[in-house]
């Protein structure tokens, strides 16, 4: 009888909804060390879990994520319940940086794309891979390739949607001017997946941290693109 009394609550626990880690999240494997490398002057950091299904208008945001990526979401790595961890980095009481990572499926396995961003502007301070299972890993991890993204914002990616179609040679297309590394034929898919991961990371940060401040750029870009196509 005593055992039944113990078993029942355990079985009832199975009926409770799982929280946060119900799908794949992307966390730094050693946050203190990694964040210290990115921000040598930091004194503390704070981890905050974000999950679309627990946010106001989460379903709407999830739809927006798909639209802003322009491709279907992966059911394993990009589900509605996927948790994300936002790292806020402080020097004393001053917020000096935001770090965030996402998983994207690559050809050879998962690719974990992290960015550190300026807390006010959302500009990329640095972009790096925590884990990349790819024949193109070496080329993609090269500093001179990754550094080309420093200073870009989500607005530049949204503008690129327009420029790539309407003005492919425009100097204003910062993303279009990025020189792709030599990844060979075998690495092209992972190169594209990495760019997609970077864009996804920025879109999610815009939702989690920046209150959709870049949404206007997306709208404007889509409108310009529509006009351009109509001509």
């Amino acid at each position: 009888m005593k055992h039944i009394a113990l078993l029942l609550p355990m079985l009832l626990l199975l009926l409770l909804p799982a929280r946060t880690f119900a799908a794949i999240g992307c966390t730094l494997s050693n946050p203190a060390q990694d964040l210290k490398y990115l921000y040598p002057e930091m004194t503390t950091y704070k981890e905050e879990l974000r999950q679309l299904d627990q946010m106001k208008n989460g379903a709407d945001l999830f739809k927006k994520l798909r639209a802003r990526l322009g491709s279907d979401l992966d059911p394993v790595y990009e589900s509605y319940e996927t948790p994300y961890t936002v790292y806020s980095i402080f020097k004393g009481s001053d917020l000096i940086g935001i770090v965030h990572g996402v998983n994207v499926p690559g050809k050879g396995g998962v690719i974990q794309v992290f960015i550190s961003a300026e807390p006010g502007s959302g500009e990329i301070k640095s972009f790096f891979f925590q884990r990349i299972e790819s024949p193109a890993a070496k080329a993609l991890k090269k500093k001179d390739f990754r550094e080309q993204f420093n200073g870009l914002t989500l607005a530049d990616f949204y503008k690129h949607d327009y420029f790539a179609v309407a003005e492919p040679t425009s100097d204003k297309d910062k993303v279009g001017r990025i020189a792709a590394p030599d990844v060979g034929e075998a690495g092209k898919q992972d190169y594209q997946a990495s760019l997609r991961g970077l864009r996804k990371n920025l879109v999610l940060l815009d939702m989690f941290v920046f209150g959709l401040k870049y949404e206007a750029y997306y709208q404007r870009s889509q409108e310009s693109l529509a006009k351009s196509k109509a001509k």
Partner: protein
């Protein structure tokens, strides 16, 4: 953009940084030795359980300061025989409520005493852990062995893979991490039965090597006194040295390594754990070698492991420094395992699999050679 979290006590407790995960495990196993000895149900062992894990992180406005982890299982065992992932079950016939992880981590514990400059130079260096968790020896601290059938060597080496302890962990520099704890040395139960406990330290490669090269590794040292019924039973000299008690003078040195390498159809992981030392005056050497293959879609896996535990069992106690070596007695197994994953998430956040495991005990200090066939269903979500 704010989340829907009520600013109440329970809202805060169960909201930000709270994780609740559930677990079902069903395992049946057949031992040829038990069957030949006429065990009930033809040597068929049944182990069924439901469990959960709670993880909570605590943060201030500018820092994540602590984390709590609790894992529990309610287990039903019938016709027990020893299976790799259930050595502790020997004395738990029928229903048993088990705890596994039960610990608190406090991050950067000296921050309240430090100025900003010192905080900055010591980020991630001094974290305090109190509670029950994996031994700081071998790869166990960086391997989740909660679900799998295939295990590492600590359970066999020390008599337990988790212990109650308190101590520090963190990064030494960008290349190395450390763990240093005082352990009770009592295994499952937090108990003092005259043992002084163990001092355990491990220095390991930082995660940078895992991410850059797929490499993990470390050196470990453990010394002091522990309680282990298994260690007493297998050696007359250890039994006599314990003089009717259960306290065993223990010393171990260990080295471990794991390397993950991509191949065109998936990944191969090679693992090795080696240790040497002594229980009382008996010299002890442990070896474990493992190779794993996982398909690129993470749906199918195959593993093979060889493990050997060799003890220079002596008839009578000798000074602990005496290292007479008579070739010793050996426990050795070769194990093969096939895995079919329905979910196999990175970070082990959602696991769902069926595993078929075959262990052939090629040498045995106690008992006889044996073949153990185990089928496991596991779901953690």
């Amino acid at each position: 953009m704010k989340q829907d979290v009520e600013p109440t006590f329970f809202g805060n407790l169960l909201g930000e940084g709270f994780a609740f995960r559930k677990e079902i495990m069903s395992l049946i196993s057949r031992s040829s030795d038990a069957a030949s000895l006429g065990a009930a149900a033809d040597g068929l062992y049944s182990r069924q359980s439901v469990g959960f894990e709670i993880l909570k992180k605590f943060s201030t406005k500018t820092a994540t300061v602590a984390a709590f982890d609790l894992q529990m299982r309610f287990v039903r065992r019938d016709n027990f025989h020893e299976v790799l992932n259930d050595v502790e079950g020997a004395n738990r016939s029928g229903w048993f409520l088990e705890y596994h992880n039960f610990y608190l981590d406090f991050y950067n514990v000296f921050n309240p005493l430090l100025g900003d400059k010192a905080r900055s130079s010591n980020v991630g260096r001094f974290n305090l852990r109190v509670g029950r968790f994996y031994l700081p020896f071998g790869l166990n601290l960086q391997t989740d062995t909660h679900g799998p059938v295939l295990q590492l060597s600590n359970e066999r080496n020390f008599g337990f893979e988790r212990d109650w302890y308190a101590g520090f962990w963190g990064s030494i520099n960008p290349h190395l991490n450390y763990d240093m704890y005082y352990l009770l040395g009592s295994g499952y139960n937090a108990a003092f039965n005259g043992q002084s406990g163990l001092l355990g330290t491990r220095v390991s490669l930082s995660n940078k090597y895992l991410n850059e090269y797929g490499l993990e590794g470390g050196l470990a040292f453990m010394t002091g006194q522990r309680l282990s019924q298994h260690a007493l039973e297998r050696s007359p000299s250890v039994m006599m040295a314990a003089a009717g008690g259960e306290v065993i003078n223990t010393m171990r040195y260990g080295a471990d390594m794991r390397w993950r390498h991509l191949v065109p159809t998936g990944s191969i992981t090679l693992t090795a754990e080696l240790s040497a030392g002594r229980d009382e005056s008996d010299k002890v050497i442990t070896q474990l070698y493992q190779a794993d293959y996982l398909t690129v879609n993470r749906k199918f896996g195959a593993s093979v492991q060889y493990r050997q535990f060799n003890q220079g069992i002596q008839g009578t106690p000798a000074p602990m420094s005496r290292m007479d070596w008579n070739g010793g007695r050996t426990d050795a197994s070769i194990i093969g395992e096939l895995s079919w994953y329905f979910r196999n998430d990175l970070g082990n956040s959602n696991l769902h699999w069926i595993k078929l495991n075959v262990e052939r005990k090629t040498e045995a200090i106690q008992g006889r050679q044996d073949t153990i066939l185990t089928l496991q269903y596991y779901h953690y979500w």
